[in-house]
Symmetry: C2
Subunit: 188 residues, 2 copies
């Protein structure tokens, strides 16, 4: 996806239309312009994400299990919607320059979910007390970076600049899950 690879300014309507096999004018007709298309993509991806995350809306599951599920859902999200991480990273860096106001609550809700899991863990005694905002950045940042950095990583691997195998997303998810399980456990 061009918005993902090139950013809002780097992706031209002409190139987007060509890759989609449609006419340039169709984008204005169906999405009210470049910005409308951009917002439509992010809205679709965020709604998919929120629906998957609503699995966690129950008190029955333990917080440490919820955190592991949260990481797994985000891993799955990035595999299925690989554009969301890159588009959101770009928005984060630009202060949301191209971010429509209707998308902002989605971001807030994801942070609130991490906050809720950590608070539950503290109440239950399954997770040690940590700063929710800092932990949110570690969890989301690790995940977003792993998936977003794929283009350069793949290139460096292909060109033999780093001598590693292309990493498996599932393995990254389990590595992060284990680090968090050990690192956030009540007593160590």
């Amino acid at each position: 996806m061009l918005f993902s690879e090139m950013g809002f300014d780097g992706a031209t309507v002409d190139a987007i239309a060509r890759r989609a096999g449609v006419n340039k004018a169709m984008i204005s007709y169906h999405f009210a312009g470049k910005h409308g298309l951009y917002t439509a993509i992010l809205t679709r991806d965020f709604e998919w994400a929120q629906e998957r995350l609503s699995e966690l809306d129950t008190g029955i599951i333990r917080a440490d299990t919820k955190l592991a599920r949260f990481v797994a859902i985000f891993g799955d999200l990035h595999v299925r919607h690989p554009h969301l991480s890159t588009m959101m990273l770009r928005e984060a860096m630009s202060g949301g320059r191209h971010l429509d106001a209707i998308l902002v609550p989605h971001i807030r809700r994801i942070f609130e979910r991490v906050q809720a899991i950590l608070a539950q863990g503290e109440r239950e005694g399954t997770l040690r007390r940590v700063d929710p905002l800092m932990t949110h950045h570690i969890v989301l940042g690790s995940l977003a970076f792993f998936f977003a950095a794929r283009p350069l990583r793949d290139r460096m691997i292909a060109e033999g600049i780093v001598a590693v195998e292309p990493p498996d997303p599932a393995r990254f998810v389990s590595t992060l899950q284990e680090l968090l399980a050990r690192g956030l456990a009540k007593e160590s």
Copy 2:
């Protein structure tokens, strides 16, 4: 910095020159065009980073201490050179579209440093055996994201969308150091 906030395509030479208080033509004259300026900035920042990281080039320090130092150095790097994380994140996402070939070895060297610390920790018995590439992504991704996401985070805090205080970089560094110390310790 405009490359940082807007990306290579979003930042116009006109705007860069205006903010720097110089004439548009001066950028072509001194840096051989927009791309030359971009490469000059990244070269300067990377060289500064490598010099700071060379502190870790000794076997005397324990690997778990080195890892904490690595995180602290990167935290300091992002505070002093806040453009490096955002510019590199954008390059990572675009497969290095605007990345001059002379900058690629810098990226490899940073990964090799993480690899060396983890290998030392395993030999010494101070760190448990983990995948170096995955761990590299967790450490660098957490740090890059925390600092790169500042524009949107600050905006959401200022607008009262999330009810938190602007986070202190030093506190983020210590939170990450503690998570890694507990999460990567030999026995838990």
